[in-house]
Symmetry: C2
Subunit: 458 residues, 2 copies
């Protein structure tokens, strides 16, 4: 029973769908943030569910770790094979299997990315609404319970995955959920797998909700004298029930980052980036309602963008926040944070994060899906500077404590992976034991993404 | 280790919060449908979470079954103590603990009913939107993943419970979810408990989402020459994206039932009962859009109701469907069904149900939350007529098969309880083993609502 034995058994089975090359292994050991290079022992490229099933059966018998790999855009090292073993790259399982336009859903394989899916849906007038910024794989998005700028309107992956096919640790293929809009039968394994980060099963097929493309979309920007003014505007907007399609906060440092990285030439003050959609009349009415509400709270520089290319430019800039933040410092890497708090606590959490960054001498931007109470204080760090990394960790710990004190969560959308495990006990308390019980009963040999999500017992 | 020992240990602990009276036991053994009287051995009335914890600790040690009891409005016998033991009546845990108006949520105890909750929210301008018709307890609604007429707009309990406190089989108190809008940390135990029918833990506190009361609400009714015309109208409406607040189908037999039971004097043709809400302008626009769409599909007799008392009369009649159906037959009891199918399959499922009822010589009404693809063929039965009961069972089996064949579920909102267990294997296949694994690991002595949800192995 070993990783080597598993690989030698997988070779004849998979042929050229198994790669041992150093280049491939290194590629699969990289990540977007500050975790060191972590190559797996081998990379498998399953072509279908049966391949996944065969691989898991062998790996389960040999106690060989298997870590699912999508687009590698996860921010907490979820795809890194930290205990070695197989990186299960789902890139070749990337098909749209069905588009059920009448039922507003599509059946897809996990390796398809969200931009490719929306490209394939173009002719139907429908789209898949969850938008985390990165061109993530749909399987990876489900596995980390991802969301992004549009969650305030359309929900997260939790609300947008109707059904799954998954292969469990011993190779059993199960189906969860159904194509019906709702069901009251059985334990909700669908939601149990969504957000389980590949630790309970490998998602091999997803039925996702689609939406009709809105008739009209209006993007807009405005700025505020202080972050508190901007956040107060967000809170009032959400409470007033204006149906926002996107409402994103950028603090002064984030705007500075965009000016440098995207040549944006924005006044270096806190901004809101907004989107309204619906019928032509309702989108306009929403924008007007918001504009009036914001003006009362000190908003300036109201600008709208209706042409698709202008809207795209705005959201492309917004989605470059990760790289724009990294570029602000000399280290060029990001220490991401991702707290989410009740909307009434948002101003306190954001201001506390800004104060902590100043206190610790860190370069931090704040950008966030504030309509959900979710924001990212992104630290630009140099992993080779141990003192800076220690201060980044202090910041991250303090922010997590703030979020939990305010009734929130340490991660709104990035997930736990490697970086947030240490907060799991504080966030979940005695419930953690029940999570462990599920893991132990579903994956007794601990082959599925070991070392993630659940911290070691102490 | 026995039920008797458990009761003798509970007596000194609970005092007059434990009842052994035959009247109390009989009351807790009744149900709304066709299951026989099933009295528990004793009824406990916990006053707080600690009482629940103490009760479960003793019952777990003594292997004594514990079945949660809310408002007893469940339709699949979920609250019946079929293996004896304790009926855990949560009526005294019925407080609104917090209303967080800024965050649009409330923290409540499980025994409060939805009408009482909305009564208490009246002054806030907010309301709790899930409406199953019956004045169910909020804890029971979460436990059965209930929904109802408003789910097409506001979602089911799955979408409207942010966080829970629950007492697990051994007395451990856990918290799931948080007050934040979203989270990506840990396995989704919140959704695992929602819909678990008291078989995994006892819900002792819920944080539920609230919504702002819409500025305007318009109810409406219209009728169609055939059920197929009405269903086609529903399908087109949902696909067109008109945001319906309610859209309910009633077949000719259901209308007949209302005419008899509620003196409604409606033309005995298939009807849709509708509701539109939003700003005054948008509700009116939605109603007009629907009216035009429906007229093209043969709708007649369009009538709107805007006064609160007229709308209330309409929905009160709709909510009497259960008793109006029962009154159509001589037996006076209901055999409820509750399939939910993809909306594209709705017409086929409804027509098949009507044909099956005729073929089997049964008195059946059809009424449903058709915007979700969910409908109820309600059979009026006489439990003392074994032949009729056998035909009712044939009907129910055939309808379940139809739903599964069409990609749906055997229960959209009533749950599994006693009556739907036999379909669990067909609906969930190999996933059922993983549900069993969770049950065994959370409740190794099988004290929590034994005999429900998961069928015996075969």
């Amino acid at each position: 029973m070993s990783i080597d034995t598993a690989i030698s058994r997988l070779k004849p089975l998979l042929g050229n769908k198994l790669s041992l090359s150093q280049a491939d292994r290194n590629l699969h050991g990289q990540n977007e943030t500050y975790y060191p290079l972590t190559p797996p022992d081998a990379v498998a490229y399953p072509a279908n569910t049966q391949d996944v099933c065969d691989i898991l059966k062998i790996c389960n018998e040999e106690h060989c770790p298997v870590t699912a790999y999508g687009a590698a855009s996860s921010l907490e090292g979820q795809h890194l094979a930290v205990t070695g073993g197989i990186s299960l790259d789902l890139r070749d399982m990337n098909q749209v299997l069905e588009v059920n336009a009448e039922d507003l859903n599509a059946v897809v394989q996990p390796g398809i990315t969200r931009l490719r899916l929306n490209e394939e849906l173009r002719a139907t007038g429908l789209f898949f609404p969850v938008d985390p910024g990165a061109d993530a794989s749909i399987g990876g998005m489900a596995a980390t319970r991802a969301s992004g700028t549009t969650a305030v309107r359309y929900g997260t992956m939790r609300e947008n995955v109707l059904a799954l096919e998954a292969v469990m640790a011993d190779g059993t293929i199960i189906r969860t959920g159904s194509r019906a809009q709702k069901s009251s039968t059985g334990y909700d394994l669908n939601h149990l797998l969504i957000g389980s980060e590949g630790t309970l099963g490998i998602i091999t097929e997803l039925t996702v909700r689609l939406r009709g493309r809105p008739e009209a979309t209006i993007a807009a920007t405005c700025r505020f004298p202080t972050v508190k003014d901007a956040v107060d505007c967000v809170i009032l907007t959400i409470q007033s029930g204006v149906p926002m399609a996107r409402i994103e906060l950028l603090d002064e440092m984030m705007v500075k980052g965009f000016n440098a990285y995207s040549k944006a030439n924005l006044p270096e003050e806190p901004h809101l980036f907004l989107e309204f959609d619906g019928t032509s009349g309702s989108a306009r009415e929403q924008a007007r309602t918001f504009e009036e509400l914001a003006a009362d709270l000190g908003a300036r520089g109201w600008k709208t963008a209706e042409r698709p290319e202008d809207r795209k430019a705005l959201w492309t800039m917004r989605h470059s926040a990760h790289y724009a933040t990294a570029a602000l410092g000399k280290g060029g890497r990001i220490w991401p944070t991702d707290v989410c708090v009740p909307i009434s606590q948002l101003a306190e959490a954001v201001l506390q994060a800004q104060r902590d960054a100043v206190r610790l001498g860190l370069t931090s931007t704040i950008v966030g899906h504030v309509g959900d109470g979710n924001f990212h204080a992104g630290l630009s760090v140099d992993p080779s500077d141990p003192d800076e990394m220690a201060r980044a960790e202090q910041f991250s710990n303090a922010l997590a404590e703030t979020a939990l004190r305010l009734g929130g969560t340490v991660s709104g959308e990035h997930g736990v992976g490697l970086g947030k495990q240490k907060f799991m006990k504080a966030e979940h308390g005695p419930a953690l034991a029940y999570m462990r019980a599920i893991k132990e009963s579903f994956d007794p040999n601990n082959i599925l993404n070991p070392g993630k999500m659940l911290p070691l017992r102490n």
